[in-house]
């Protein structure tokens, strides 16, 4: 790594001031240290945000759960209440990396993490996402890449938590220019869909404060498919959530990870499920709607039948 300065912020305002002059926030540090070690980022100062008060709690409110940005993925995994109320979030957390990673990884960091595309992560490839001319994945090795995108870069979002949050219609609250701004997952990643150099829609200095989850959906699940059983990025991940009453779905949400720069959701699919009872046929039709217009590149077409299967299986779990 190049050398850098280091400071600990004790308030959100201090943090945002400190980071303004070529600084980067450091929470768990898994993603940031990886980027630093490959010389992919060059901050002058690391601003430690782990001491910011009040960002490390999981709180159950009447209608909304709040998870502080500094809550670790391990804390989410271990939380009995979350496992009961939001099993989709529990399993998404369970699958993040390894225990050693989950013990330090923060919710905020998991959402904000940079692309895992191997061209982006390569120290000696100047790809489009790093302001180069070419998306190397498009005509190169793209087995792990997107089926949907709004720009030339085909690197997908891989955050497990983002996919679960999307299905739960959760909102990330971000401090921006002195005020908290609420963003659903679609907004949180919107810029990554439209702009090749963006990983998400955070602006410099933005500080994630918490994620708020409406408690309305009483069923949720998350499944991912990866080459290895554990400690492997998903090839495709899927989360689904809905309010299920007498076997009928309402406010259903399906979200897919690893196939788009944004957790992939299709309104038509969610609307289709409204009022429906889940069976193989319904689940399959919903999957068709989610994957409509999927555009594979040279080597990731397998993601389409794989995603279709995961959607069906995740949805059918909502019946359980």
């Amino acid at each position: 790594m190049k050398s850098f300065q280091y400071a600990t912020a004790l308030s959100v305002d201090s943090a945002q001031q400190m980071v303004a002059d070529n600084g980067q926030y450091i929470a768990g540090g898994n993603d940031l240290l990886g980027l630093l070690k490959e010389y992919l980022v060059d901050p002058k100062t690391l601003v430690n945000i782990k001491s910011l008060p009040g960002l490390d709690k999981i709180e159950q409110g009447k209608d909304t759960w709040t998870i502080g940005a500094n809550v670790t993925v391990a804390q989410i995994e271990d939380h009995a209440g979350i496992k009961e109320c939001f099993p989709g979030l529990h399993w998404a957390a369970w699958h993040v990396g390894s225990r050693q990673i989950r013990n330090v990884a923060s919710v905020g960091g998991n959402l904000a993490q940079h692309s895992r595309c191997w061209y982006f992560r390569h120290r000696d490839v100047l790809c489009l996402k790093k302001d180069g001319d070419t998306c190397y994945a498009r005509h190169g090795e793209n087995r792990y890449h997107s089926l949907f995108t709004g720009n030339q870069c085909i690197s997908p979002v891989v955050s497990n938590l983002a996919v679960a949050f999307a299905a739960l219609d959760a909102v990330a609250v971000v401090q921006r220019e002195g005020k908290p701004v609420s963003m659903k997952m679609a907004e949180f990643y919107a810029d990554a869909f439209t702009s090749p150099t963006a990983h998400n829609a955070l602006k410099p200095g933005d500080l994630i404060l918490r994620v708020e989850i409406p408690a309305v959906r009483n069923r949720s699940h998350y499944i991912q498919a990866s080459d290895k059983q554990e400690f492997d990025w998903a090839l495709v991940s899927c989360a689904a959530a809905a309010k299920v009453t007498d076997g009928k779905l309402s406010q259903a949400r399906i979200a897919l990870g690893c196939i788009s720069p944004v957790p992939h959701q299709v309104d038509a699919a969610n609307e289709f499920l409204e009022g429906k009872t889940l069976d193989d046929a319904t689940a399959s039709q919903a999957a068709d709607l989610v994957l409509k217009n999927a555009k594979p590149h040279g080597h990731n077409e397998y993601k389409i039948p794989l995603a279709h299967t995961l959607i069906r299986r995740t949805l059918l779990k909502l019946n359980a």
Binding site: M1, K2, S3, F4, Q5, Y6, A7, T8, A9, L10, S14, M18, I26, G29, N30, L33, G34, L36, K37, T45, L46, N48, K50, S51, P53, G54, A74, W94, G97, S98, R99, Q100, I101, N103, V104, Q229, E230, F231
Partner: protein, 217 residues
Amino acid sequence: MNDPDSKKAGFFSRRSFLKSIGTTAVAGAAVQAQAVADELEKVNAEKTIGPGAVPVTLTVNGKQLKLQLEPRVTLLDALRNYSSLTGSKEGCDRGTCGACTVMINDVPVYSCMKLAIEVQGQEITTIEGLAQDGKLTAVQQAFMDRDALMCGYCTPGFVMSVTALLKKNFRPTADDVRHACVGNICRCGTYPRIMEAAFQAAGVPVPTSKTEVIRYA
């Protein structure tokens, strides 16, 4: 106290302090000094350090290590190359293999992905800190009994992960062991023995892998 400020853990508000010490002249002077000290502490706590080396004190295996480290030095680097604790190994330096696993306040982490300056004031346990007076712990003994090591390079990391697991969950299932230790990679192929060792150390029945030696006739 009904003071809303006092709900914040560790936060010492001026109002609550004032209330608690009364209003004598001596107290008044002390309050002023305390207020200045508070402000200084806040400024110091938010002080920018580096990029050059700064004093860093690490509490490792119960002992204090006083080092001079740049902020960019990882805990692993500090242990191996600035002190002589070479038990934790560097396998990948990217948080993908577990050879560098240590415990911080009994929680297993990748020391290669932790800046040393960030773990001051925390209890760091490395492989060297497990055996007391040279006697192997139950986990270490189980590893030896079950041949859960070969070249030994991944071994300190695995021992730390299994030790940390058993501290948290003293009767793990096979799934628990796998989920807790999957962050450690072994190229020699000790995995089935590691499972056995974890069960033995936990004092639960060990489902041994089946091996039979047959005399060729």
